[in-house]
């Protein structure tokens, strides 16, 4: 592991797992959802589990939040075993699952208050906290409506608010940004970072998006088939990959000429397809201006330019030598697809 943990003598890790394993058996078939996970997450870390569908992210979170017992292995969260110390673990954690935490027939505000009460807040404190979160998550207009009438994103924000009511020491978020528009996505990132900075909570979230993991988490754990395939900072995961600069040209001959010029760029990989040149290079986005000027000077100005940051798919390809099994998950929310890379 290349990551340095923030552990010191006074604080034990927030999460420790040893050989954590979970199998599911249905119709005589055994799915090894999580296989021998050994993890150590220090107090106050902000960690993202990144992986494709079915990688075992939710199953891991469900074990760590006491929802399902491990098939074998152990896990401690906030110093308590997830099997023998369930009560203590539940007191210390917050969990935003993949589903909707608010009952559909309830009012949002009521759910927030009763969640606060469940965590032992006084009536007054629970109401105060609910008000704060309604404000923070921009739910003022809908908090007193029936949950079933909220939009998907509004419901998601309510789920997140419920996970934050009691300022948990360890917060688990399973795909928190699903269904959020870009503005609310950014908003959520700010909120999580603020919670993390103010209360020093340990935060573990899952995502399909490298961009999101990068924006939020200091540490990214890439999982696939129930095992960890990388554990590092997002920056380092991406550093080997570079950006994808895609240049479009009016004709195949122009693209061929441009490609031969671009071959001179140091440490770059160049792929030419009919009228398009893909350049994979570190810090490509910073280089584009210069590249365009050079090509124009050489008489082959591109007609189209796209720059894409590396995606989960690219990291995955780099780590495993194969593409994601379910490619639709590789679409980053705000960057163009890089199909040619996937196919490469």
């Amino acid at each position: 592991m290349t990551h340095s943990h923030h552990t010191d003598h006074s604080s034990s890790p927030a999460i420790v797992t040893r050989g954590l394993t979970r199998h599911f058996t249905s119709r005589k078939q055994t799915v090894e959802a999580v296989q021998g996970l050994d993890l150590e997450i220090g107090q106050g870390e902000l960690v993202a589990f990144l992986g494709p569908n079915g990688a075992g992210k939710s199953t891991t979170l469900r074990m760590l939040t006491t929802l399902i017992p491990p098939t074998s292995g152990t896990a401690q969260v906030a110093g308590h075993d997830v099997v023998t110390g369930q009560r203590e673990v539940r007191r210390a954690i917050g969990f935003v699952g993949q589903g909707n935490g608010a009952g559909h027939r309830q009012l949002g505000r009521d759910e927030l208050v009763s969640q606060g009460r469940a965590h032992g807040l006084s009536r007054a404190d629970a109401h105060r906290r609910a008000d704060e979160l309604i404000e923070d998550l921009d739910l003022t207009a809908v908090a007193d409506r029936k949950v079933s009438s909220l939009s998907g994103g509004q419901r998601r924000r309510l789920d997140i608010a419920m996970g934050l009511v009691h300022l948990p020491r360890v917060l688990f978020l399973d795909e928190p940004s699903t269904g959020l528009d870009p503005q609310n996505r950014a908003n959520l990132q700010g909120l999580i970072q603020r919670l993390h900075a103010e209360s020093g909570s340990t935060v573990v979230l899952t995502t399909h998006y490298l961009e999101e993991a990068d924006a939020l988490a200091g540490r990214v754990i890439v999982v696939d088939h129930g095992t960890v395939i990388a554990d590092d900072t997002a920056a380092r995961l991406k550093s080997g990959l570079g950006d994808l600069v895609r240049l479009g040209f009016g004709s195949a001959s122009a693209s061929a000429r441009a490609a031969s010029r671009l071959a001179r760029v140091a440490d770059a990989r160049v792929d030419v397809a009919d009228g398009t040149v893909d350049l994979r290079v570190k810090d490509g986005s910073a280089m584009v201006g210069e590249l365009l000027a050079d090509l124009a000077a050489d008489g082959v100005p591109p007609t189209r330019v796209e720059v894409a940051r590396p995606t989960l798919d690219d990291v995955f390809l780099d780590l495993t030598g194969r593409s994601l099994r379910e490619t639709q998950q590789s679409t980053e929310p705000s960057t163009p697809e890089t199909e040619s890379e996937v196919a490469a």
């Binding site: 929802l67 007191r91 969990f95 909707n100 559909h104 009763s114 032992g120």
Partner: protein, 248 residues
Amino acid sequence: MSTFVMDTVNVMNRELRPVWREPMSVVFAMIQPLVFLGLFAPLLPQMADGSALQWFVPGIVAMTALMGASFTGSNLMEEMQSGSHERQLVSPLGRPALLVGRALKEVVPMLMQVAIIVAVVTPFSFDLHLGGVLLAALVLSVFSIGVGALSFALALASRGEDWMFWTVQQTLLFPALLTAGVLLPMEGAPRWLEVVSMLNPMTYVVDAVRALFAGTYPADVVLQGVAGAAVVAALGLWVGVRAMRRSS
């Protein structure tokens, strides 16, 4: 212990909130047993020892309790699908509190129904014995919590399959009602039916409720009724908590 009470009240209040917000649903729930009573009472034969209503009303009350409590799991089914049950499981709410709180959601309307039934039949040939009625309501509440917990466990076992929950609920409901002697007396039943009736804890609950509604307090009958209710409650909580622990 006080956490248990607080958690239970929290869960119960949460469950009841949507009910209070839709008063019409409460009104219809209140009227249902009255309709049943109105249609059935005229058909009752005159009984040797007192009015037929005196015999029949406690049965209707017990039936109302059983039916209401057996619906406890249906709400849970919905919340299992959405994820709010999961959220509650991760919270520090005590597991028995989750069960009892949900079961009480059906007990509160049940008590209101009992009050309305008694209020409506009293002007007719029905003698009101308030002390007995209150004691009977207490026994029925304990019984309902047990049935509610069993219904909860059934919902967990059905794992979101609606048809399974309703099939099992319906299949068990009517035999339980009939063999407890709710609608027709068990006297003169064939031996096998008598045995089934004796094995049904609800039989003792219904017998005790009848005695109490009549303003009599025969120690053996009342104690058996309390024991029957307690057995159902204990069984329900045990099965329910187990089901919750294994629902993963």
